[in-house]
């Protein structure tokens, strides 16, 4: 017989282990935008805050109509977190409306319904994953990351510019066999620049993609970080791969 509360303690310990692992584990979160559709203001605010703390760009809407309008707008989202029990246009109707035009948008459904029929219905309507409330944020985070990782299959695991090689899954960057230690932010910059190698990238674009925030021209944070990256990537005597494009920003290229 298990002691009272034993299972709860075990569950919390397991969740702590997940948090530790998540902290160490590589991720592709920088530059990823998530739209949360949840009518409960308190829960929505909490999820938004926690996902932002994990460096995701997060927008929040509270009903189906607003979600549909937001998704038709200019901004590109990498993931949709959708509560099923929404006022007005409910979650299932929104799914049916969205899927024809956005078949590849990863979609995580939140639901308080837990019957097998409900779960099957959610998948039949086009969800990629679901979580039953009350859930724990660490589980949501793990599922978000799994969905993003799955969706990043279109981007090859390995990128190469000259002798600079980046391994996304392993979160490793090497130049001519030399391992380059990068902070998460520096890695996000190198990853984005290598994905767009040969193209000049403006400071504003780089800031918005990596910092998930609107660019403030008065800040020189992009230049500061690019210097850190350049110092690590282009050592004295090595061929220059990071280039400054005057009046625009930066470019990674192998001449």
């Amino acid at each position: 017989m298990s002691k009272p509360g034993g299972s709860t303690i075990t569950a919390i310990e397991q969740d702590h282990a997940k948090i530790d692992r998540n902290t160490r584990e590589s991720s592709l979160r920088a530059g990823r935008n998530i739209l949360i559709v949840e009518d409960d203001v308190s829960l929505a605010g909490f999820l938004c805050q926690e996902l932002q703390a994990e460096s995701f760009g997060v927008d929040l809407v509270h009903n189906g109509e607003e979600a549909f309008e937001t998704l038709q707008g200019q901004k590109r989202y990498d993931l949709l977190i959708l509560d099923l029990n929404l006022p007005g246009l409910d979650g299932v109707s929104l799914l049916q409306k969205l899927r024809p035009s956005m078949p590849r948008l990863p979609l995580l459904v939140l639901t308080a319904r837990h019957s097998i029929e409900d779960k099957v219905k959610v998948f039949q309507h086009g969800a990629d994953d679901y979580l039953v409330k009350p859930f724990s944020f660490v589980e949501l985070l793990a599922r978000v990351r799994a969905l993003l990782r799955r969706n990043s299959g279109m981007i090859p695991n390995c990128s190469q510019v000259g002798d600079l090689v980046l391994y996304r899954e392993e979160r490793r960057v090497e130049r001519n066999g030399r391992r380059i230690d990068l902070t998460p932010r520096e890695f996000a910059i190198v990853e984005y620049m290598m994905r767009n190698a040969g193209k000049p990238i403006s400071r504003a674009t780089l800031f918005e993609e990596v910092w998930n925030a609107p660019y403030d021209p008065s800040t020189n944070i992009v230049d500061v970080y690019m210097k850190y990256v350049r110092d690590k990537v282009d050592l004295p005597g090595e061929r220059k791969l990071t280039h400054t494009i005057r009046g625009i920003g930066y470019e990674f290229r192998h001449d």
């Binding site: 948090i19 829960l43 909490f46 308080a112 409330k133 859930f135």
Partner: protein, 225 residues
């Protein structure tokens, strides 16, 4: 079977409808409870993780405290809902005019402070009502509060009361409240109000968009008691 999967074969159609309604009400309650429990579960787990800073720990504990408070209120509503369905309503003669006056006085002030206009249209004197005073008071207060929750400053909330052959027909509406929807806690509160009205043999109808609640309360005289 009801939508919830509860077996109702062999029950009369009225009983089946009541069972379906009770299931729907408790489903609202469970859905409402799931929200604070999700935040609470997440906040407690994160707050007790090894590398959380003392500042974050304090913030998560505050979030947890707020959610516990919210969950307790919802739990109370669920208990009240169970009580409303399990116990018979009182049948006593009530002066509905007096009851309405006290509700309108208190809630009218709250609505005015929030910048809303409250209009109550009711005949000067109403015949007696035969029902449960506490349940009627809960329903009137809750429904006005719910209507206010979907209203904005400048909106006009109207409460109309009309005597009918069977008793009273009441309508509570805000025609400007379009496209505004009830939160899960408000839906539970409405479920409780509906249970309290139906337990007095009243009818209850609700249209979300534009916002309108209509319900009936039973009339009576001294012989009916």
């Amino acid at each position: 079977m009801t939508e919830s999967g509860l077996k109702t074969e062999g029950l009369s159609s009225d009983t089946r409808s009541t069972v379906a309604l009770i299931c729907a009400h408790f489903s609202e309650g469970l859905h409402a409870m799931a929200q604070p429990l999700t935040v609470l579960r997440s906040a407690v787990i994160t707050a007790t993780a090894p590398m959380v800073s003392p500042g974050d720990q304090k913030r998560y504990m505050q979030i947890s405290a707020d959610q516990v408070e919210g969950a307790c209120q919802l739990f109370q509503s669920l208990q009240d809902l169970l009580f409303a369905w399990q116990n018979e309503a009182d049948r006593e003669l009530i002066d509905l005019s007096e009851l309405l006056a006290s509700v309108c006085d208190v809630q009218g002030k709250v609505l005015k402070q929030s910048g809303m206009i409250f209009v109550s249209a009711s005949p000067e004197a109403l015949p007696p009502m035969l029902g449960d005073k506490d349940r009627t008071l809960q329903a009137l207060f809750a429904l006005l509060k719910i209507t206010a929750s979907v209203s904005a400053p400048g909106d006009s909330i109207e409460l109309r009361v009309k005597p009918t052959v069977q008793g009273f027909a009441l309508t509570l509406q805000n025609t400007r409240a379009q496209g505004r929807h009830l939160k899960s806690a408000a839906r539970l509160s409405m479920a409780l109000a509906e249970a309290n009205i139906r337990s007095q043999q009243g009818d209850f109808r609700f249209v979300e968009d534009p916002f309108c609640i209509s319900f009936t309360l039973p009339g009576g005289d001294a012989d009916s008691c």
